[in-house]
Amino acid sequence: MAVKKREKDLTFLEKIYIPEIVKGLSLTLKNMFRPKFTLKYPEEKFIPPASYRGRPVLVLEENGEERCVACGLCSRVCPPLAIEVQAGETEREKERYPEKFEINMIRCIFCGFCEEVCPEEAIVMSKDYELAFSNREDAIYGKDKLLVPVHQLQDRINFLRSYK
């Protein structure tokens, strides 16, 4: 059997353990008084950084119109086929808008492809991570839940622009 050689022989002090034990104990003692990482969750909430991919949402412009033009690229790229878009026509400047825009949050895998592929920056990942629902119908988010005013999403939009 090949005997593996030690990279470094232990010194006498290391061999009698006790100074090393004292070192280890003092390290844990120091850590006991360091600030804690735990958040007291329901009272204190975690505020994610801009790079966080939470629930995908649609951008609602300042004038109350949605930015989405219902091109359907997001639903096309979506790996788990969670997005369903139905386009409609309007008299407004943009001409097209989504009549129906649904994301099935049971299917969504938070990959962020929809946001990456979107030519209009109309669908972005928000910081929203509390997504509990008690039945399957509630899990399908329609336009009422998806539209979020643009100023709430500015952080993420800036992040996307700086990395594109």
Binding site: I18, I21, G24, L25, L27, T28, L29, N31, M32, F33, R34, P35, K36, F37, T38, K40
Partner: protein, 345 residues
């Protein structure tokens, strides 16, 4: 003191100590969880009650409601007997530990120790080594290889550490010239603790006590990463709780034993409390409080060590026990004998 008075006072003491012991044990579990959390920069259980103080009760309640599963291969009688034996040993050992001086109450002089017997130290050594039977029984009767390995390890560990433990106690006995725990406490006086006189014996005894209580770094009978749960793998519900409580009760007994033998028992350090002329009831209260503080510090030390040091490998444990601890405890006896030769003759 008549026989009746003796029986009544002893019963009262037993009830008080058992209640306190159970409470301390359950809070020790809570304390351990909090301290381990602090050591890892977490908060620990802080939801049930104020800062989680009701957590022990929630734990016990949960365990009570769990299904009690006995494996088909198990030897049912011994399987049920093992946790009871563990608890029995853990709780009865405390009977001979003095936690305060004698008090005068209703015209009676009551020593604050359940049984003030002449062979207290022998009694403790005998009972604590009985504790290994609980673990071995549990391991053997479960009909599971992990449990069996845990049981075997525990008996091997117990044999190798009991010797150094006994020899370290020998050093103390040379000085106190008595096996009575009260006499040992009094022989140390206010500041001449055995821990100062025989530091080597103190260290070997503390290490052996860790091994004896199966606490990390010597928790080989449990060794979660290798043996699932060791000897209590096949236990659930209150039988598991029995082992769990016994482990913590053993910690309390071990720290009480260390305090009695090496840290001056219930005596206040550096001050001779009987000479400053406080009222008697205050003296008693201060001495009991001293005992509790020492106990708390030692229990914290137990927990602190658990969350700092890694577990020993099996062969390392054996070589430490036989090649290091055993000779060291012998050296300690020679050292104490030499001190007696020089200073007392």
């Amino acid at each position: 003191m008549t026989i009746l008075e003796l029986i009544v006072t002893t019963l009262v003491k037993i009830v008080i100590i058992l209640t306190l012991m159970l409470l301390t044990v359950s809070y020790l579990v809570y304390f351990e969880r909090r301290v381990s959390a602090w050591a890892q920069n977490r908060l620990g259980p802080n939801r049930v009650g104020w800062e989680g103080v009701l957590q022990p009760f929630a734990d016990v309640f949960k365990l009570l409601l769990k299904e009690d599963i006995v494996p088909t291969n198990a030897n049912k009688t011994i399987h049920a007997l093992a946790p009871m034996l563990a608890l029995f040993v853990a709780f009865t050992t405390y009977a001979v530990i003095p936690f305060g001086p004698s008090i005068r109450i209703f015209g009676l002089t009551v020593p604050l120790v359940v049984a003030d017997i002449n062979i207290g130290i022998l009694y403790i050594l005998a009972l604590t080594s009985l504790g290994v039977y609980a673990i071995t029984f549990a391991g053997w009767s479960s009909g599971s290889k992990y449990s069996l390995l845990g049981g075997i390890r525990s008996s091997a560990q117990m044999i190798s550490y009991e010797i150094s433990m006994g020899f370290s106690v020998g050093g103390v006995l040379l000085l106190s010239e008595s096996l009575r725990p009260l006499a040992i406490v009094n022989s140390q006086g206010a500041w001449l603790w055995n821990a100062w006189i025989q530091p080597i014996g103190f260290i070997t005894f503390v290490v052996s006590a860790f091994a004896e209580t199966n606490r990390l770094p010597f928790d080989l009978p449990e060794a979660e990463p290798e043996l699932v749960g060791g000897y209590h793998t096949e236990y659930s519900s209150m039988k598991f709780a029995g082992f769990f409580l016994a482990e913590y009760a053993n910690m309390i007994v071990a720290s009480a034993f260390i305090i009695t033998l090496y840290l001056g028992g219930y005596n206040l350090p550096f001050i001779n409390i009987n000479s400053i002329g406080l009222p008697e009831w205050l003296t008693v209260i201060i001495q009991i409080a001293t005992f509790c503080v020492k106990m708390g510090a030692l229990l914290f030390f137990f927990i602190w060590v658990r969350w700092s040091l890694p577990r020993f490998r099996y062969d390392q444990l054996m070589s430490l026990g036989w090649k290091v601890m055993f000779p060291l405890s012998l050296i300690n006896i020679i050292w104490v004998a030499a001190l007696i030769m020089i200073f007392k003759i």
